[in-house]
């Protein structure tokens, strides 16, 4: 220790680190410094986030916000072959609403609620419109009495529909009304990217072909936010596409979201109408296992007819756009750590994918959990390093 202090300097620090075999992909990247008599290990950690949808960008932001002071320097890089406005997050309508029931998966309910509460804090903030955040109320409709959803206490003003309200929707005999939030990817993602750029995060327009590629280049932590294509980096039988097709129409007289449900056929299989800040998204397609990202006229007809039947005034709406996307469906979100070793090279991977049709709804809760996992990685590295002193 004394010897180290006497010969303090970068070269000496490297020798010191080498001597103590501090775990690292590249020892030339490590620096040690003395702080008031104790040896604090200052690591520059290199984090590679793969994926620039809402999950990737928010994970990067959360990690940076939480650890930029304690991990210095904290280098975050984002790798993606698709950026806004071409990601799935951009195509989604942007309504905050999880699936009806978490089926015991209380973690996901917690992450959904954290996201809602987080977004709500921005609702009166100057940036709210730039972020694409605003409130919207609306209807969830059923053909039979249905238990309250897992998110009933997360939203605002949740209540059951009155008979008079149900009269508006022939064929539906039960339903809910609540105020929720909209979070439009086309605005939110650019906002996230601006925040990340301000923090010195670097963006690479590149498809990562393998985890190894990043591990070999000296990345310490990989955050895997690759959504539906996660299987290309690591096979995952549980991950399947839930294909959706939507129409964007001009119907500015519509001020509520309307989501119908058929508990037998499952989520997103029946018509839904979600007004946005500009256009109205109408949909009702969920095809598990269909990898096509092309729009087809059959689904277009189905959506158009079923939504017009639900809301007759749509007959006058001008159709502006068609879009198809693949929801990254999984039995539950994969949000966990994994250590990858390729010979001497080693990295930690934090998986954060499989958010189905509720990516925007759950993103912040998951980003925080990803940051928690990152924190554990940092802690473990520190303990290992200091245990060698």
């Amino acid at each position: 220790m004394l010897a180290f202090r006497k010969i303090w300097g970068r070269l000496a620090a490297e020798e010191f680190c080498n001597y103590f075999s501090v775990q690292t992909a590249s020892n030339t990247r490590k620096r040690c410094s003395s702080v008031k008599g104790t040896v604090a290990l200052k690591e520059d950690m290199r984090v590679a986030v793969i994926g620039a949808g809402v999950i990737g960008l928010s994970s990067a932001l959360c990690i940076h916000d939480r650890y930029r002071s304690s991990v210095t320097p904290l280098i975050i890089e984002v790798y993606a072959d698709q950026y806004t406005p071409l990601t799935i997050s951009d195509g989604a309508a942007g309504l905050w609403q999880p699936y009806l029931y978490d089926k015991g998966n209380v973690q996901e309910t917690k992450w959904n609620k954290e996201t809602f509460d987080y977004l709500l804090t921005y609702i009166n903030a100057p940036d709210s419109i730039k972020m694409g955040i605003f409130t919207q109320s609306g209807y969830n409709l059923f053909t039979e009495p249905t238990p309250d959803p897992s998110w009933r206490d997360s939203v605002l003003g949740f209540r059951h529909l009155t008979p008079q309200e149900l009269d508006m929707f022939p064929g539906y005999s039960y339903g809910w009304f609540n105020t929720a939030l909209m979070i439009e990817g086309k605005s939110y993602l650019p906002w996230l990217m601006d925040r990340l750029r301000e923090r010195g995060v670097i963006f690479y327009h590149r498809k990562i072909e393998s985890f190894r590629e990043l591990v070999d280049s000296g990345v310490d932590v990989i955050v895997n936010c690759t959504g539906i294509r996660a299987g290309e980096l690591q096979p995952d039988q549980d991950l399947k596409p839930g294909r959706g097709q939507i129409l964007k129409v001009e119907a500015p007289w519509l001020k509520h979201f309307i989501i119908t449900h058929d508990l037998k056929t499952g989520v997103y299989t029946t018509p839904y109408i979600i007004p946005g800040s500009n256009l109205v998204t109408i949909g009702g397609i969920f095809q598990l296992g269909n990898w096509s990202q092309e729009c087809n006229s059959q689904d277009h007809q189905k959506v158009w007819e079923s939504c017009s039947k639900l809301i007759p005034s749509l007959k006058h709406a001008r159709i502006v756009d068609d879009w198809a996307g693949l929801r990254p469906v999984r039995s539950k979100v994969r949000l966990e750590r994994e250590t990858l070793e390729y010979g001497a090279a080693k990295s930690e991977v934090i998986h954060n994918y499989g958010h189905g049709g509720f990516g925007l709804t759950i993103h912040w809760g998951c980003a925080q959990e990803a940051a928690n996992l990152f924190g554990k990685v940092v802690e473990e590295k520190r303990q290992k390093a200091t245990s060698r002193l």
Partner: protein, 338 residues
């Protein structure tokens, strides 16, 4: 007995709806609307079209409630039909917030609107200056779209429109059997009704398409009503103020008040401003009067003094006025057979 010739004076929301109601409900009537002002220049056109109404102090509550309910039901069925965008009618939800809890927390119209309830504490957090609130769903009826739609329906029912100012009822008595007076503030000169007075209202229209909820301050002075192509911000209530030009001070004041309620408005683009004079009266005048014209007595059905509740009450008062016209015809028939 030939056709009954009815003259409806006024082509705002009250005049056109009353004329339509009569034309559709009483086939033997031949109805003509006479007015010097038509959409988009009437007072009705500038109003946000939010279906909600303050109490008229001099009209029994149950009568007001009936007018409101009849109007609500009429607009509600349009909003659920494919005609909704052609008529400019649609549902809107939102909040009425109070700085201090009002004496009447549950107003007489609570069961007319949809889903009326008190706001939760969590909801009130969005309005830190306000301690109490009501959440509900009501209707919007935009007259620049609705009035032409009414007029089209009226003409399909063989209604006639005659532009031109009516300066006294006497001139109508020659060609008409029954007069229906829907002249709003015009009744000041037409009828000499000194109970009638203008309450000046100035509004702003801004571009803020992300706003989906109405927000109204219980004091009635500050409100935000999202519309089809713009958001109406208001407002003012200036009694006996006849100024029809916009006041920049009113403008900046109401913009500030609205931004305090909804901060995202700071990012909105102001499109235009407008001033209208609410035809206000202690009580809405809806009654029959016999007008002496030479040796004849011509019935006049008065239907004016709706104040800021023209759109909110129009169909209910149109129905009641139509009923009064029916009674006149019934009496006439009887009289002619005596």
């Amino acid at each position: 007995m030939g056709r009954v010739r009815v003259a409806v004076v006024g082509a705002g929301v009250v005049g056109l709806s009353t004329a339509l109601c009569i034309a559709e409900c009483i086939p033997k009537c031949s109805v003509t609307v006479l007015a010097d002002t038509f959409s988009p220049d009437t007072v009705s056109d500038g109003a946000a079209g939010f279906v909600y109404v303050n109490k008229f102090p001099d009209t029994p509550v149950d009568r007001q409630r009936r007018w409101l309910k009849d109007t609500f039901d009429h607009l509600f069925s349009i909003s659920n039909s494919s005609e909704a965008p052609d008529a400019g009618v649609y549902l809107i939800s939102g909040w009425q917030v109070f700085r201090e809890p009002p004496s009447e927390k549950r107003p007489y119209w609570a069961d007319v609107v949809l889903g009326f309830r008190f706001m939760s504490d969590a909801e009130l957090e969005k309005f830190p200056q306000h301690k109490f609130g009501q959440a509900f769903t009501t209707l919007k009826c935009e007259c620049p779209i609705y009035l032409p739609w009414l007029e089209k329906r009226f003409k399909n029912a063989d209604g006639q429109v005659q532009p031109g100012r009516v300066t006294d009822f006497g001139q109508l008595c020659v060609n008409y059997d029954i007069i229906v007076n829907c002249s709003g503030l015009g009744s000041l000169s037409l009828v000499g009704d000194t109970d009638l007075h203008p309450v000046r209202g100035q509004i702003l229209k801004v571009q803020a398409p992300w706003l989906k909820h109405f927000i109204r301050d219980g004091d009635g002075l500050t409100y935000i009503f999202p519309g089809i192509s713009s958001v109406t911000l208001g407002g003012t209530r200036q009694k006996d103020d006849w100024r029809l030009t916009a006041d920049p001070k009113d403008c900046s004041d109401m913009f500030e008040r609205c931004c305090a309620l909804e901060p995202s408005l700071k990012k909105s683009q102001v499109l235009t401003e407008w001033v209208g004079l609410r035809p206000s009266r202690g009580g809405l005048r809806l009654e029959k009067e016999m007008f002496q014209h030479g040796s004849r007595q011509v019935p006049i059905i008065h239907n004016y003094g709706h104040g800021g509740g023209g759109i909110s009450l129009h169909w209910g008062t149109a129905l009641e006025a139509t009923q009064l016209v029916k009674e006149c015809i019934g009496n006439r028939y009887l009289a002619s057979n005596l």
